[in-house]
Every structure is written in structure tokens, then in C-alpha cells.
């Protein structure tokens, strides 16, 4: 923790993850060998979740790493970096991650919607960070690159649930306005 300066490098992110409200992994990407195998990764996620799911505190030092996090309904978003890393950089990545997912899910950030759009979520994570390097930190650009076109899906191919969902959304938004 009290080590010297960080070697100047673009590799800033050690991991990003989305967990559900039981601490189970929905998406997790590890970019270096801090946690070499799945078992250690999952143990880390479980511990991290236990530390963070109650206190909504945004940032925590955990196992010698800096973790920033954000939660909504039943989803927890994490970005993990070295303890020497600039906390604000990590936080900017987390915001980009969360905001882009939120746009993709049309502000409906919860587990169900996330799983329905898992393909787009994978693509967004890929556009956010490549091998530990921040690739894009602007949520609009990410969404644009993912370019998921839900509207183009012909009505026939949408499931009943999707139709209902989009109807509900539209009513909700019109009410909110």
C-alpha cells in the first residue's frame, strides 16, 4: 500500500464485474493475474460482495486493491484497480460502465433486463476496457459502438414479455414527464 509510484502505463483496470444481489457473478472480466483461477476470483467476488452490499459507500480498499462500486435494484457494478491507482480514474470507468448499461437497458437497470440483453452487455464491457486498458470512457460512445438496435426487431420476433415491457416503459416515461 505504501509502495512507490505506479509505473506509467495504460494498464489501469484489474477487473470489472457485475454481480447479482446474492453475490453471484453475472459478468466478470479479469485483466491480470492477481487472481489466477476461477476459484480465487469467485472467492474474491463473494468477499467483496459481503463487504459492500449493505453499505452504499462507493469505494472500498479491499485485499490491497481499490474497488469502486455502484448498485441499483438487484445489480452491483464493480471496477477494481491497484491500490496505487488514481481512484477518480477508476470511478470514471465505473460511471461509463454503469451509464452505458443503463442506456442499453433503457434505464431499466435490473437483473432481468440485463439477462435479456446479455449480448449487448458483453459487447459494452468489451468496448469499455480491452485487456486492462481503458478503451472508451464515454458512455454515449460505448452505446453508439455497441449499436444495439432493439427498435429494429420486427414485432413478430419479440416475445410477449418484451412487448409488454416496452409498453410498460413507455407508459412509465410518459407519466414521469
Amino acid at each position: 500500500m505504501d509502495g512507490g509510484l505506479l509505473e506509467p502505463s495504460l494498464y489501469a483496470i484489474k477487473a470489472i464485474a457485475i454481480l447479482d444481489n446474492d453475490g453471484n457473478r453475472l459478468l466478470a472480466k479479469y485483466y491480470d493475474d492477481t487472481f489466477p483461477n476461477t476459484k480465487e476470483q469467485k472467492a474474491f467476488e463473494k468477499n467483496l460482495f459481503n463487504k459492500t452490499h449493505r453499505a452504499n459507500a462507493e469505494i472500498i480498499m479491499f485485499e490491497g486493491l481499490t474497488c469502486v462500486y455502484k448498485s441499483n435494484v438487484d445489480l452491483f457494478f464493480y471496477v477494481v484497480g491497484s491500490s496505487m491507482e488514481n481512484e477518480l480514474i477508476l470511478s470514471s470507468v465505473l460511471n461509463a460502465f454503469y451509464d452505458s448499461i443503463s442506456q442499453i437497458l433503457r434505464k431499466n437497470v435490473e437483473k432481468r433486463a440485463l439477462l435479456d440483453n446479455l449480448d449487448a452487455v458483453f459487447l459494452a464491457a468489451d468496448e469499455l476496457c480491452d485487456g486492462g486498458i481503458i478503451l472508451e470512457a464515454d458512455s454515449n460512445s460505448i452505446v453508439q459502438k455497441v449499436a444495439i438496435r432493439n427498435d429494429d426487431i420486427p414485432l413478430g420476433e419479440q416475445t410477449m414479455a418484451q412487448v409488454l415491457q416496452s409498453a410498460k416503459d413507455q407508459i412509465k416515461w410518459s407519466l414521469l414527464k
Binding site: E7, P8, L10, A55, I60, N86, D119, F122, A137
Partner: protein, 876 residues
């Protein structure tokens, strides 16, 4: 109603997760759909997402399975659906490490990379680079160069980032892309700029001059990307560190100018960089500290966390610089994020003054129950340093610690508190009674055996010397009734110590111990029987030797000696004096007076208990000429007999045996064109000493340490122990080729004069800690007592006198008597040790400070008259 309930339950049980119960084999089976024509993009996309999901869950997929799925996936290139294509790229990246023959997709990816669809090009480049190996790099090089300068930002970023990933394997190739990277830095897109700067630095990082130019160029040229600024600040601070430059460097000016940047990220990075620099003064820190102060009141928790964490670091080195922020830090104590609150408090504890301690402690106690053990330990450590800093505040701090002991907490946390209390008791006599009382209360309800025994030991040591020892006995005896065997045994030992030290309690202690003789555990019964019998003798000497001061030998040494004894049955009784003594722990020596290497620099010894001396003993026993000298009594610290920068670098260690001294010379040859042979150190002995043997180091090649020994017999006259030896290094030189190390056949004799080696009184004395000095003093008795008064006119303070006396005599200060309370003009120093041959040696030095210097009345007691004489004259 019932069905509704069931529905709800189903939904809760992962019914909402369509990916929940996926089987690896069935998903891979489904992947065969990819081979069907025409391709149904939605269906295939869904299946591919499932494949990605199971990989993401950490399922391990075998090479054959992966290869099969991979080849099926390549079929999907036929579809033009954008989502599906991009999922294919993801699939390729995920499987590139497990499947075989992944190169097969190169041409498809290259087509996408150079194609018209901008949306595909970036991801295609990144996927391509994940399947490309070093040998293939040449063929895509041209396209990569083009992509780096592409006008579409996504493509350019992808190419730059991929170049960095590739650069880990083959730096040579990407070095040729420097011009393209240079061009890309000028891009309008912030991310392209950031990535290009990263690549440019990576390519040039070994060339300091080029990096210097890079920073000075871009620090003037305004970058757009805050990320690029952060990177540039890191590069600049690394340069400052490497050049060891101070705040006058132009790099520092750049970093400081970043404190006025509009992005918080850059401002914080700059402040953090300034704080981390080594050669900063309080003045350089001031602007950084003031921006951090502003951040402390930010609404963003991350910013507050970052600021207070960095201020905490500043407080370690420059507590004064942070005092300005005290008010802001105090506001953070109540922060909802407990990490921020804890950091704020520990920072305040470092910077605060005595008057603020009470208030702070009150505030901490309000939230101690809410934070995790990890942070509680941080708080305890802060309190520990506070106890040392403000000894007068022990009352508040002790009460607080006691409160924390009572609360819930894990072993590590409790141990930290107990350690903290113990240290405070030892450092601060005023805190002793309160501390012991708190510990007594703690063991009443302590589930950790280790802590209970530790506290009982401490009670046995400190309790008898308090004004009312009797009150501790009740606490200790309660343990005998209620606890497990280990704790009971520790309690029995503690009671015995009270009996031995306080005559008026002797009767009651014996009664208690006699009751313990009925215990169910062997160890407890044995201890009780032993102590009862010793105590009934009512002899001070016995009590001191067997109860109060315990064994002085090294445990590893004793084990070895006893093993040896049982192997060779002997008429003679086992002689305790032949066992090497326990040396004081190295950490303790470091704090005191020993120059030379720090203990941590030494290689880790395989046995924790094996002291340095045990290691030497084994080393010496392997030299046949030195094997029969008996038990090694003492080894000195290594001492340099050459300058460290000279041709030959030599250190000397003196090993004292009962009748001999072995000088061990560790030599290193620092000339790469010489091979030394038959290396010895010739010594001119002082009067009475006699050199009996030289053991040469047969060959000393360049940079490989070798050892030569000189054996010297000690004078027969017991009081003659000191002397100075002139040393000369003698050897045969053979010139050799610096590259191959091949020596010439012919050599010539040469010699090299070394510094003199001195044998002092300290070499004949082993430090031994007497936990109860007064008891030992009585035990040795006044038979061989010598007393003298000296005037130490060169010493101006008592501390200095103590340091010198300890160094000359080589004895161990007992009962913390080497620490002088501030402002006292007289002091008594107690020293304990064992002289060569196993004679106990005790010294009491009464020191008084007057206008002409320090006056000392020295009293020496020993079991041997000669020893008393040697020690009494040591200081003269």
C-alpha cells in the same frame, strides 16, 4: 393463492435467469446450429451469448471442445448481422487461448479490418491481434500502421491498444510504428490521444532523453484528454524520481501547473504525485495539500476517499503540513463511508496535539462498532503510536482500549489491543496499574488461549512489583479453576512468581500451588510440584534461578546438546554451561547499539528458533581444524576491515570459545581480471595471544565470496583479555581473462594491508536479559564484588554514557534501565550477562550528571573474581 405463491417462489429462485442452469456440454452441442444454412442471426446470437456466458462463469472447456466450437463459429462470418458479427469477435477472443489453429480466421478478420463497415473495423483489429502470434505479425504490420492513423477514432484506438498488447511479446516490431503513433497523438479524439501517448512512451521508455523530450513537448502542447494528462504526470514524476531532482526541476513545474487543471482527475493525480515524491519540502507540498483540502468537502465519496487517503500519507512524513486541514478532516469523522471516517481519524491522530486527543477518542468510540476488524486494527495502531507520543494521555487511551477489549472482535484485533496495552505498560510506568487491571478483567472472559497465557506471563512478571500484588492473585487463581490446561499451567507459573518475590504472600501462594498438585493435567501438576518444592526452600538464590529468571540457554542449542549427550553416554553429568546461551532477539539489538546490517537484510533462516549464532556454530563445525574447540560462546557482529569500494572487500567476525578466538574473514574479490589462491589473513598477535593456525581459502574467483579463518589461543592469564591485531591479507594472484574467467598458469605472491582488528571485553561477554535483576543480584552475592568510581568527562549526557557503557561491556541492560526518564540528573543502570566460561556477570552503574560531565559508581558482581576485575577495568 397457493399457485401465486409458488409462482413468486419460482421467480425468486433464479427463474428469472434464463442462463442459470446451463450445462456446458448441451450449450456446446447447440453450437452446432452454427453450421446450418441459412443462418438465423437471432438464434445463433442467442446461442453464442450462452457460450460466452458459460466461459465467463469460469467453466473450463477442453481444447477439442473449444476447437470444435471455434470452427463452427467461423461459419457465422457468412451472416452480415452486426450484433452477431461482433459476438463472433468476442468468441474468437475468448477462445483464442484454448482452441487450436485459431489462425484460420486471420483472413476473415483482415477483410473486416480493412472493409467498409467502420463498426466492424475496430473490434476486428482487436480480435485479430488476439489470434496473431509473433511470426504472423509481419504480414499484418502494414495494415496496423494504416489503422493507427485511421481517421475513425475507434479504429485508431483499437490499433494502438492492440499494438501495446502485442508489444509485450515483440517490442522490435512495434518500435517501427513510432511515426504513426506520433501522428495519432495529435488526434482530436481524447481516447486516441491517450492511447497514442501510452504507446509512444512504451516504445521510448528505455531512452531517458527521448522520454524527457516527450514530456517537455506535451506539457506545453495542450493535451485534451485528462487520462493523457494523468499519464504524463506519472511519466514526469518517474523522471524526477530517477534523476533525484527536487522541486526546481521543470518537470515539477509541470506537475504543479496541473493542480490548476479543470478536471478533478488530473488535479488529484498531480497532488498525489507531489505527495509521493521523495525530495519535497513542506513548502512544495502546500499547494497540493490545499487542493486535497478542497476535495475533502466534495459531495463525491470517491473524491473524499482519495483526498483523505493521500493526506494520511502526507501526515506520516510531514504532520505539520496537514494541520491546516484538521477542521475538514474532523467533519469527515462522521462520514457515511466508514473507510473515509477511519482514514480521517488516523490522520488526525497523527497531526493532532495533546489537547484534541480526548475529543477524538470520544468521536471514535461512537462508531467503533460499525467498522470492520481491518479498520479497527488501523485505529488500534494509531492509538499505539499516540500512547508513545503523549504518555500523559495514557488514562484516556487505556480506558478506550479496555472498552474495545470488551467489545466483539476477532483474534487479530484482540491481539493487537493486548499488544498495545503491553507496550504501553512497559514504556510508561504510570500506566502500569491501570493496564494490568484492564488485562486482568479481560482474561476473566477471554476465549483465546494464546492471549490468556501471554497476559498471565506478564502478570507474573510485573504484578509482584506493584504496591498491592495480592489483588492479582485472585484473578490468576480463577484461571486455575476455570480454564484449559495451557492457561492453567501459565497461571501456576505466575502464582509461583508472586510467591518467590513477595515474602508476605509466600504462605498463601504455597497453599494455592499445593491445591494445583491435584490437577488432572500432567504439566500443571509437574509445574505446581516443582514450584512448591523450590519455594519451600525459602532460598533467594534458588527462587531467582528457577522461578524468577528462568533458563538463559538457547532452546535450539539445548536440544542439540542434549541430543549429543544421549548419543554418547558419559559418566560425567550434563553440563548446562556447555550449552550456548540464548542471544537477545536481533530486533532488540538493532534498536540498541549494534551498527552493521539490519536483521531483515539477512537471508531468512530455515529454523525460526535458530539464532545467528547457531548458524555460525554449524558453519564452524564443518571446518575440520575448528571442530574440536568446544561450544561457541559468542560471535561478534561482522565488521569491515577494508573500505567497501576497494579491490578486495573483507568483513571480519570474531568467534569466542572458552580458550580460543576464531577470526573469520569473509572475502570478496572485486577484480574481474584476477583469481586469488591460498588466501590467508596473517595476524600479528598482541602480547599473550598466540596464533596457532591459519586456514586458507583455496580459491577466490571474481565476485564469489570465500572464507578464511585464523585461530588464536587466548592468554593463560585470566585477566588479560583485550588486544589489537595487525592484519595482512596474503595470497597468490593469477591474472585471468575478464570475460571467460580462464586463469593463467603462473601466479605471483602478493599482500594487502587490512585495518587492525580489536578484541574487546565485549567479545568475552554474552548479553543475557535478567527479567528480575534484584533477585539475580542477591543470587550472585557480594563475594566477588568490586566497586569503583569513575568520572566520565567526555560524556555530556546520561544517555550517551549509558550507550557507551553498554557498548564497552557488551552486557544486556535489564529492566529497561537503559531508558532515562526525561530531565533526571541521576540514574541507575542494570546490566546482566555471562562471561566466557559460563560465569554470571552483573553490573550496577549509578550515574550522576554534574557540571564536569558524568560521574559513575560502578559495582560489579560475578561468580568469578577475575571476571569482576576484567569488567571493572573495562570502562577505565
Amino acid at each position: 393463492m397457493l399457485s401465486l405463491k409458488r409462482d413468486k417462489k419460482e421467480e425468486e429462485e433464479g427463474g428469472g435467469n434464463p442462463f442459470n442452469n446451463l450445462e456446458k456440454s448441451s450449450v456446446l452441442q447447440e453450437a452446432r446450429t452454427f453450421n446450418e444454412t441459412p443462418i438465423n442471426p437471432r438464434k445463433c446470437g442467442h446461442i453464442l451469448t450462452k457460450v460466452l456466458y458459460i466461459i465467463n462463469q469460469g467453466e473450463s472447456i477442453g481444447t477439442t471442445e473449444a476447437t470444435e466450437a471455434f470452427f463452427a463459429m467461423t461459419k457465422l462470418f457468412q451472416s452480415k448481422d452486426p450484433i452477431l458479427r461482433r459476438l463472433v469477435y468476442l468468441g474468437i477472443k475468448e477462445m483464442s487461448k484454448i482452441a487450436q489453429d485459431v489462425i484460420i480466421v486471420t483472413s476473415s478478420l483482415m477483410k473486416d479490418m480493412t472493409g467498409k463497415e467502420d463498426q466492424f473495423r475496430g473490434p476486428a483489429i482487436r480480435a485479430l491481434c488476439s489470434v496473431t502470434d509473433h511470426s504472423m505479425l509481419q504480414s499484418i504490420e502494414r495494415y496496423m500502421k494504416q489503422a493507427i492513423v485511421d481517421k475513425v477514432p475507434g479504429v485508431s484506438s483499437a490499433a494502438l491498444v492492440s499494438a501495446l498488447h502485442l508489444g509485450k511479446g515483440s517490442q522490435e516490431v512495434i518500435k517501427r510504428w513510432v511515426n504513426e503513433a506520433q501522428e495519432a497523438v495529435n488526434s482530436d479524439n481524447v481516447m486516441v490521444q491517450f492511447h497514442a501517448l501510452g504507446l509512444l512512451y512504451y516504445i521510448r521508455k528505455t531512452d531517458k532523453l527521448a522520454v524527457n523530450k516527450l514530456v517537455s513537448k506535451f506539457s506545453k502542447h495542450t493535451l485534451k484528454s485528462p487520462y493523457a494528462y494523468c499519464l504524463l504526470i506519472r511519466i514526469a514524476s518517474k523522471l524526477i524520481e530517477e534523476e533525484d531532482a527536487g522541486s526546481d526541476s521543470p518537470m515539477f513545474d509541470f506537475i504543479e501547473s496541473c493542480l490548476r487543471h479543470k478536471s478533478e482527475m488530473v488535479i488529484y493525480e498531480a497532488a498525489h504525485a507531489i505527495v509521493q515524491l521523495k525530495n519535497t519540502t513542506a513548502k512544495d507540498l502546500a499547494p497540493a495539500v490545499s487542493v486535497l483540502q478542497l476535495f475533502c468537502s466534495s459531495p463525491k465519496p470517491t473524491l473524499r476517499f482519495a483526498a483523505v487517503r493521500t493526506l494520511n500519507k502526507v501526515a506520516i512524513k510531514h504532520p505539520a503540513a496537514v494541520t491546516a486541514c484538521n477542521l475538514d478532516l474532523e467533519n469527515l469523522i462522521t462520514d457515511v463511508n466508514r473507510s473515509i471516517a477511519t482514514l480521517a481519524i488516523t490522520t488526525l491522530l497523527k497531526t493532532g496535539n495533546e489537547s484534541s486527543v480526548d475529543r477524538l477518542m470520544k468521536q471514535i468510540s461512537s462508531f467503533m462498532s460499525e467498522i470492520s476488524d481491518e479498520f479497527k486494527i488501523v485505529v488500534v495502531q494509531a492509538i499505539r503510536s499516540l500512547c508513545a507520543k503523549f504518555p500523559r494521555k495514557h488514562n484516556v487511551l487505556m480506558t478506550f482500549l479496555a472498552q474495545m477489549l470488551r467489545d466483539e472482535g476477532g483474534f487479530d484485533y484482540k491481539k493487537e489491543i493486548v499488544d498495545c496495552i503491553i507496550v504501553t505498560i512497559e514504556e510508561n510506568p504510570e500506566a502500569k496499574e491501570a493496564g494490568l487491571a484492564h488485562l486482568c478483567e479481560f482474561i476473566e472472559d477471554c476465549e483465546h488461549t494464546v492471549l490468556a497465557t501471554k497476559i498471565l506471563h506478564l502478570l507474573g512478571k510485573e504484578g509482584p512489583r506493584t504496591p498491592t500484588p495480592s489483588k492479582y492473585i485472585r484473578f490468576i487463581y480463577n484461571r486455575v479453576i476455570l480454564e484449559n490446561a495451557a492457561v492453567r499451567a501459565a497461571a501456576v507459573s505466575a502464582i509461583a512468581k508472586f510467591g518467590a518475590h513477595c515474602e508476605d504472600l509466600l504462605e498463601s501462594c504455597i497453599v494455592l500451588l499445593e491445591r494445583c498438585q491435584l490437577d488432572t493435567d500432567d504439566e500443571v501438576r509437574d509445574r505446581a510440584t516443582f514450584y512448591v518444592n523450590v519455594l519451600k526452600q525459602q532460598q533467594k538464590a534458588l527462587s531467582s534461578a528457577f522461578i524468577l529468571n528462568g533458563l538463559q540457554v538457547s532452546v535450539v542449542g539445548l536440544e542439540r546438546a542434549l541430543h549429543q549427550y544421549t548419543l554418547e553416554p558419559n559418566e560425567a553429568e550434563f553440563d548446562m554451561k556447555s550449552v550456548p546461551l540464548a542471544t537477545q532477539p536481533l530486533a532488540e539489538q538493532k534498536v540498541r547499539d549494534v551498527p552493521g546490517e539490519a536483521p531483515s537484510a539477512r537471508p531468512a533462516q530455515d529454523k525460526v528458533a535458530a539464532s545467528r549464532q547457531d548458524v555460525y556454530q554449524e558453519q564452524l563445525a564443518q571446518v575440520p581444524e575448528l571442530a574440536n574447540l568446544g561450544t561457541l560462546f559468542k560471535s561478534s557482529q561482522p565488521m569491515e576491515v577494508t573500505e567497501s569500494e576497494t579491490e578486495y572487500y573483507i568483513q571480519c567476525v570474531k568467534h569466542t570459545f572458552s580458550n580460543y578466538i576464531v577470526f573469520q574473514f569473509d572475502c570478496t574479490n572485486t577484480l574481474n581480471d584476477q583469481l586469488l589462491e591460498k588466501v590467508t589473513v596473517e595476524m600479528e598477535p598482541a602480547e599473550g595471544f598466540e596464533v596457532t593456525k591459519y586456514i586458507a581459502c583455496q580459491s577466490l574467483p571474481y565476485n564469489k565470496p570465500g572464507t578464511t579463518y585464523t585461530l588464536v589461543r587466548l592468554p593463560a592469564e585470566p585477566t588479560q583479555v583485550t588486544g589489537t591485531f595487525a592484519c595482512t591479507l596474503k595470497f597468490l594472484v593469477k591474472d585471468c581473462d575478464p570475460q571467460t574467467g580462464e586463469p593463467d598458469d603462473e601466479g605471483y605472491d602478493d599482500e594487502y594491508v587490512l585495518e587492525d582488528v580489536e578484541v574487546t571485553v565485549a567479545d568475552h561477554v554474552q548479553r543475557v536479559m535478567k527479567p528480575n535483576f534484584a533477585a539475580s543480584w542477591e543470587e550472585v552475592g557480594p563475594e566477588n564484588e568490586l566497586e569503583d568510581t569513575y568520572s566520565l568527562s567526555t560524556m555530556s549526557t546520561i544517555e550517551e554514557a549509558i550507550k557507551n557503557i553498554v557498548q564497552y561491556m557488551g552486557l544486556q541492560p535489564c529492566e529497561r534501565s537503559d531508558k532515562v526518564p526525561e530531565g533526571k540528573s541521576s540514574h541507575t543502570l542494570y546490566l546482566g550477562g555471562v562471561f566466557r566460561g559460563g560465569h554470571d556477570a552483573l553490573v550496577r552503574a549509578k550515574l550522576a550528571l554534574d557540571s564536569s560531565g558524568v560521574t559513575m559508581q560502578l559495582t560489579v558482581r560475578s561468580t568469578d573474581p577475575n571476571v569482576s576485575e576484567v569488567l571493572a577495568t573495562a570502562v577505565a
